[in-house]
Amino acid sequence: MKTNDVPQDDANMLQGKFKEPVYSIDTDGNYTTVKSVGWDPKNAVMQEAWDNVNEKIEQTRQKVLSGNLSPIAYYIEKNIMDAGLVAKYMGIWKWKVKRHLKPRNFEKLNDEILEKYAKVFSISKEELVDISILNNHK
């Protein structure tokens, strides 16, 4: 790639936090880096991955609101995790996390466990148990 061809297609994927060096060849035939804010095809595949994540979050949100899943299920998707990864952060077995996805088991959880889950999801315990706030999480 020539330095002039280094794309500058901004889709705010880097949020202005930095630009990415891309190796390319200048007019004298020397390799150098040119900083890029993004490239269309790359933005498209990134967006696709996030669309999938967001779709899953939305489906799970609906299931929590309709009482089929506990809020833990929602925050797992929201943090792009799965039961296995949450179990590792919690230091408990994966099957236990899966049990806690059922609303009736979730209701029985003690404060200590709830605090721990909340910390993993970077929210407060109060937020975790308050299903009504999910109405506004669109």
Binding site: L14, Q15, V22, Y23, S24, P41, K42, V45, N79, Y89
Partner: protein, 340 residues
Amino acid sequence: MVNIIPNIELNFTHKQFAHCENGVVSNLLRYYGIELSEPMVFGIGSGLFFSHMPFLKVGGIPVTSFRPLPGIIFKRISRRLGIKFEKHKYSNPHKAMDALDENLKNNIPTGMLVGIYHLTYFPDPYRFHFNAHNIVIYGKKDNNYLISDPIMESYETLTYDELLRVRYAKGTFAPKGHMYWAKTIPENIDIESAIIKGIKHTCKDMLTIPIPMFGVKGIKFLSKKVRSYPKKFGARKAASYTGQIVRAQEEIGTGGAGFRYMYGAFLQEASVILKNDELKKLSYELSEIGDLWREFAVIIGRIVKNRNKADESYDKAADLLLVIADREEKFFKKLKSSIT
């Protein structure tokens, strides 16, 4: 937290790089008076690779990768340059932080592995659960750690708790507080022989691994898979599967087109050091191959945008992969014979 050490700031010069593993090595070595560019570190560490492993899935999507496993470049470069690194993992997070403070007190800039997901200064679209990111800590000021992150343009800071959290990220490649620092640096570095070893290893990786998932064979294998995706999985899933290939290829840290451009820069630098004009010619050829990878990304980008329709472009993408595989096979054979 008790502030056990006063403000310390080592005389550490940060430079931004495309790839974190190369970047940390390059930044650390500069502190000890060894100037090696990112492409040099990448080339000597044999960082260029290709693999497609359909049975290994991340987020339900088969993994295609343009690099060896995390840590490999690091291992190879230290062996080939004769630099000894001290490495440690800690089961107790607070001990890991104490050990870091102790290092800073002794003026040792310290590299470490961290998870990206909780890295506060990272752009949100790139924050996923990837645990093999490398940074250097070179000081502490008002209880904030001073960070040189090769991906970032300037210095960053993290609090004690923030740093502890990313050092103990969980999941695949969990860093477990892993940190490393230079122990002994040889007086004379035999750069020529390190370059040749690096090139030979890459040629071997790309041409001769007898498993169809790696190197040039892996690209042909992927071509077959891509062709079968729309029929086998339907439009939506096929788009996700091929999208991952391009995400890996153009990920932050590749310097573009699956590291081909970065390796080209390495070959150009190597041609001067080894006084070998053939390597310079090959560096341009590799840039052209990088352009073909970009063409592939353009096709996939279009497929992904129209992901709800089945698309005949999958055949075009698969054909292009065969062209690339053929070009790379010839390229690495020429590269091999150019240094022997």
